[in-house]
Point group: C2
């Protein structure tokens, strides 16, 4: 594997940032990894697990010798952090992010960078679990998963190539698409399911007022699967929903008629329509299950001696 | 383990019926197990895997020497099957079912049994995966999970005890509650999540009209988890939704405001309310995750030499 960077700065050494670091290190694709972040305790865990070599307390200072900057913070923090660090980065340094929303983030970063915009290319590594933080990072989290790059007319070809190589070194399948298309697609297959899972859990929490706490204790594996993502970081998902507002609203509004069709069939006792709708969903869901997709291998031991996967 | 029955008839040797048979056999809690069902091929698999000792083609004939009858078919078929077989059962024989809806099923079965109603006690073993059929049955599927019994004033005390012993022999934690309460609780924590998962997949299928088949290929693990139960049997879930109509409608109608609260906060950009709602769900979901619950151990090898867990 080719070396990606002698000195890589990761801002936000959480599940994604930490897993990227772990993967690059396990493949010898990186020299020194410097971590910055808000939470001292999280950085300490990242260092202890060998995900990063060094903690930097001053982002501007950390930028000085970096070959590459990866901003893997919640969406809202990406552009401000780039704005803060960009002027200190050496001319050769390339910037990317790991945000789940691209159009507004890319626009804000390019605005912040001004004439330096050519050195930035937006990324979205489509991987993750409901866990967060450096403690949950794993060298194999990204392997085999997709990463979408959203270069613009302002992105330098060399930046694109460099950022592509970064994620490929972590084992990802990289493709490019316009940021707006990314946001539209991800609103459907990722943001909407998260919103629904949060709402489903809240509806059960509301119902506990009538039925007491034991209601939840009757939940089986189905409820557990359906709501797993509702254990995800509220701050991260607040940012995603607000940043991708229009597409998320559209996805919710397109979901409601699909739910109403089932509700109507149940209400009038239309068994044929109901079964047809359920069967349609089943066949699509089975198509998904049959897709070649390396699911994150939970509990796999990473190659880093100190970086063992912890139970979420 | 005490012997539950010398001759046990299981009607519907699917995931639940087959797993019950496998568990009882692996603990030596049962003599001969006779399987009946609509699908010859499924019964053949059940026999081949050692879940049942014998296939009966005539339900009435199968009833003649049975000590116990467990009806583990889709909900709609339970009462008709009991009505068909009851007159042939010996006086000592006890009857139970495994339906996910109880009030209408129990009422229909008691009606069908008339003066024999004392020998029936409704059951709902709360276990399962999105897989179905004898091929998916596993001796450990039920172990540690809850089973709810819904006896009525007509149920004999000896029937209650006998049915309780049946599920306990399969390792289940048995409790009793009124059928109507069962239906209300399960509508919230099981039926609603299924309806939502089916609707979510259909919404993505609808959106594929605009985005093409590749939309689904951008789904990550979150979408996969959220919609896993949508791979469940459409016939079984049609029956459940129709049988538990009122409670399912109520659960859907109580879910919609929880979704609307998130939608409104996203629309107006109320970041504080949004984060508070997401955080509330997260904390409830984490409470669920922390509950002692033996999740079905996927891929565990059963103790039956021929009954190995297959990949769903």
């Amino acid at each position: 594997v080719r070396r990606i960077a002698d000195r890589l700065v990761i801002a936000g050494v959480g599940l994604i940032g930490g897993s990227l670091a772990a993967a690059l290190k396990s493949h010898g694709a990186v020299g020194e990894v410097i971590g910055i972040g808000r939470t001292r305790e999280n950085l300490r865990i990242a260092k202890q697990r060998g995900l990063i070599d060094r903690i930097a307390t001053d982002p501007v200072e950390a930028a000085r010798d970096a070959d590459m900057l990866v901003v893997a913070t919640p969406v809202q923090a990406i552009a401000p952090l780039v704005a803060l660090m960009a002027h200190a980065l050496p001319p050769r340094a390339v910037i990317t992010d790991a945000g789940s929303v691209k159009a507004p983030v890319v626009a804000a970063v390019e605005r912040a960078l001004g004439r330096q915009a050519a050195r930035f290319c937006g990324s979205h590594p489509i991987a993750g679990t409901e866990s967060s933080g450096a403690a949950a990072a794993r060298a194999d989290l990204l392997a085999g998963a997709r990463c979408i790059l959203t270069p613009t007319a302002r992105t330098a070809a060399s930046t694109r190539r460099h950022v592509r190589t970064l994620w490929e070194a972590a084992g990802m399948r990289v493709e490019e698409m316009p940021a707006r298309l990314h946001d539209r697609l991800l609103a459907r297959v990722s943001h909407l399911p998260h919103v629904i899972a949060y709402a489903l859990v809240n509806a059960v929490a509301d119902a506990e007022r009538d039925h007491g706490r034991r209601l939840l204790s009757y939940a089986g594996g189905g409820f557990g699967d359906s709501t797993r993502v509702a254990a995800s970081s509220p701050e991260m998902w607040r940012d995603i929903c607000v940043a991708n507002r229009d597409e998320v609203l559209r996805a919710i509004d397109d979901f409601l008629p699909a739910l109403a069709r089932l509700r109507d069939a149940i209400e009038v006792g239309d068994r044929d329509t109901l079964e047809a709708e359920l069967a349609r969903a089943q066949s699509v869901r089975r198509r998904l299950a049959a897709m070649p997709r390396p699911a994150p291998r939970r509990g796999t031991v990473t190659r880093l001696s100190t970086a063992r996967a912890r139970k979420p």
